[in-house]
């Protein structure tokens, strides 16, 4: 590409964030390929991050305060980064790129949980979803660090530092909204009650995760349940809110019984890429 057309900066325009330990591009160029099972596991984790990033991206320019536009964009960017690592790694098993997997899989081929597909709702509901997901993700990645799969361990190392900040962000807002005004307390409680029904799906053991967990490659979701629920209950009570007692909503196990929202999310996300199959962007 020509570098002589008078730009003040010659920096690459594809810088994503400062201090990236690994990049999706670097991952794609690695020799080691994921096995079929590891790839299917990486899709489960990657699809969660991708869907949530897509949801959070909608807040940019719509947040309650300019600092929150920045913060939510930051979180969305981190999650998109995780998705890119995981999808890139998954794709190595099938000679597919991250974009093949993100843009050219159909609805029933995604593995995301209903929680991350759930609508943003108001800011309280978004914070409720962030709270649950970031505590879950932190527990997950802190264990995945010890994975015998080096690539998964490296991804976990990178992601862990970021989801730690996401936890902090969600917890601080939980406190503010729980203890702020009567209205914020009510909305935060409603937000928690709304998304809480989808929490159990995060802890369901499905294949190939169970089998990979035995081999020390993956983290068994059910093993995270008590820790995450205890942490969430403590912090919700600390914020003066009530821990929802809703039973888990029936009917989802990441095997194709997905939310009504997924189709709309993908319709929007995939539309342009699918209008121009084979094109480079």
């Amino acid at each position: 590409m020509s570098d002589t057309v008078g730009f003040t900066s010659q920096d690459s325009a594809t810088r994503i964030s400062m201090g990236n330990a690994i990049t999706a591009e670097e991952l794609a160029s690695r020799e080691d390929r994921a096995s079929e099972e590891v790839a299917r596991y990486a899709l489960i984790l990657g699809d969660d991050s991708l869907m949530l990033a897509q949801r959070l991206g909608h807040w940019i320019s719509r947040a309650p305060e300019l600092e929150e536009d920045v913060a939510l964009a930051n979180i969305a960017l981190d999650l998109l980064g995780h998705a890119r690592f995981l999808l890139t790694y998954a794709g190595s098993a099938w000679d597919k790129t991250e974009d093949d997997l993100a843009y050219f899989r159909d609805e029933e081929e995604f593995r995301s949980a209903r929680l991350v597909e759930h609508e943003n709702g108001d800011f309280g509901q978004t914070i409720a979803r962030q709270l649950i997901f970031s505590f879950y993700a932190y527990a997950l990645y802190s264990r995945l660090l010890a994975s015998t799969d080096e690539t998964l361990s490296a991804i976990a190392d990178k992601a862990l530092k970021e989801v730690d900040y996401h936890r902090d962000h969600a917890a601080q807002w939980l406190m503010r909204l729980g203890g702020g005004t009567e209205e914020s307390h009510r909305r935060m409680q409603t937000g928690l009650d709304t998304v809480w029904t989808y929490i159990e799906e995060l802890f369901i053991d499905v294949e190939p995760t169970t089998q990979l967990a035995e081999a020390g490659v993956a983290v068994l979701p059910s093993a995270l349940r008590d820790e995450v629920l205890t942490q969430l209950s403590t912090i919700i009570e600390e914020a003066g809110l009530r821990v929802p007692q809703a039973k888990g909503a029936f009917g989802a196990d990441r095997s194709g019984r997905y939310s009504e929202h997924r189709g709309f999310i993908l319709a929007e996300m995939q539309v342009l890429a699918r209008e121009h199959p084979g094109a480079t962007w």
């Binding site: 590409m1 057309v5 008078g6 730009f7 003040t8 900066s9 920096d11 325009a13 594809t14 810088r15 994503i16 964030s17 999706a24 897509q54 991206g57 909608h58 940019i60 320019s61 719509r62 947040a63 309650p64 305060e65 300019l66 600092e67 536009d69 920045v70 964009a73 930051n74 969305a76 960017l77 998109l80 980064g81 998705a83 890119r84 999808l87 991250e98 974009d99 993100a102 843009y103 108001d122 800011f123 406190m175 503010r176 909204l177 203890g179 702020g180 005004t181 209205e183 914020s184 909305r187 929007e268 996300m269 539309v271 342009l272 890429a273 121009h276 084979g278 094109a279 480079t280 962007w281």
Partner: protein, 344 residues
């Protein structure tokens, strides 16, 4: 100050004191004015605590807040494409870019605060439609190529305008612009790269790129403001070292920059009068549609209403969150005070 509340009663002002106060104030203003003139003559920086003429302050508040508002409204046309970006890498870069714009808004609102204008006050002016922002953002970003054209042409015009502003006489503004310019040059390059990829892609992609450039070229040139003869505030701004070059000088500089860039893209610029003038050492360009420009500025552009409605909806929907954060902070402060009293 006495701990006791003073009795509220009308006090006859002491005429001698009033005269004395006025004399002191006039003295301070005279010394301040001389110092201000000196700083400007030496091409040094005015800082927030320095005395400055009211008009200088007003001019800066207007310019800095308009710039901040442009960053905020400017998040919309591109933000509109985050969910549909055609690759994950592009989605990532676009998100980072729109996030940068929010960051620029923050630096600039802070610079305006150092001039004594609170963020809430500045927000209010945008909310009520009293404040202006760059009218280019009232045009739609319809296609993915528009994201490229906005980066290349709109951010490119912005940089051309802003690089000299890094030397603006008002310190906080100049310093904010240094950071803004670094990021903007990255934005311009990503826009150009989007267009480069499209113009070297399929026929449909190339057409998409050409169409976007055709639509954004004229409005981008108008971002420098009206021709010099019709730009009433420019002279004073230049005398104050806020503005360093006139609108037409900057516009010419931009045209001279983008012509070779367009050639490298393999795209044409929609101006039949565009040609190299050997004598001037610059590109000549055709007359711009200033009627359209002024009607967009006055509120009749394609999306003025939509942009403002989007901004207002975000502010309205977030009001309860801001109230909660303020109430929570008050409660925390009160609790800390109580704790301090108890331990005393």
């Amino acid at each position: 100050m006495s701990a006791q509340k003073p009795h509220l009663q009308a006090v006859e002002p002491d005429a001698a004191q009033v005269t004395e106060d006025a004399r002191v104030a006039a003295d301070q203003a005279r010394v301040g004015w001389e110092r201000f003139q000196e700083i400007i003559a030496d091409d040094k920086r005015i800082e927030p605590r320095d005395w400055m003429p009211d008009d200088y302050r007003k001019t800066l508040v207007r310019q800095v807040s308009q710039h901040a508002h442009s960053e905020i409204i400017g998040m919309q046309p591109e933000g509109n494409w985050i969910s549909r970006a055609p690759s994950l890498k592009r989605k990532s870069v676009l998100m980072a870019k729109v996030q940068d714009e929010a960051g620029h808004g923050l630096y600039l609102y802070s610079a305006a605060e150092t001039l004594g204008t609170s963020r809430d006050e500045t927000y209010e002016q945008l909310y009520t439609g009293k404040a202006k922002y760059s009218s280019i953002f009232n045009y739609p970003a319809r296609t993915w190529a528009d994201v490229g054209a906005v980066g290349w042409l709109v951010d490119g015009a912005a940089i051309t305008n802003q690089v000299p502003l890094c030397r603006a006489s008002y310190g906080p503004y100049g310093r904010a612009m240094v950071r803004v310019c670094k990021e903007e040059s990255f934005h311009q390059r990503q826009g150009w790269e989007i267009l480069y990829t499209l113009s070297h892609g399929t026929q449909a992609q190339k057409q998409m790129a050409q169409d976007a450039v055709d639509r954004f070229y004229g409005p981008a040139l108008q971002m420098f403001g009206p021709p010099d003869a019709e730009s009433p505030n420019s002279q004073q701004s230049m005398a104050w070292n806020i503005k360093r070059f006139s609108n037409d000088v900057l516009r010419q500089r931009f045209v001279d920059m983008i012509v070779p860039q367009a050639e490298a893209l393999g795209l044409t610029l929609p101006d039949p009068d565009l040609k190299w003038n050997e004598e001037r050492g610059h590109y000549d360009y055709g007359e711009l549609d200033w009627d359209e420009f002024f009607s967009v500025v006055k509120g009749d552009g394609p999306l003025n209403h939509q942009r403002l409605a989007h901004y207002r909806a975000a502010r309205d929907n977030g009001a309860w969150v801001r109230e909660a954060a303020a109430a929570y902070a008050d409660k925390q402060a009160a609790a800390q005070q109580d704790a301090a009293l108890l331990s005393a």
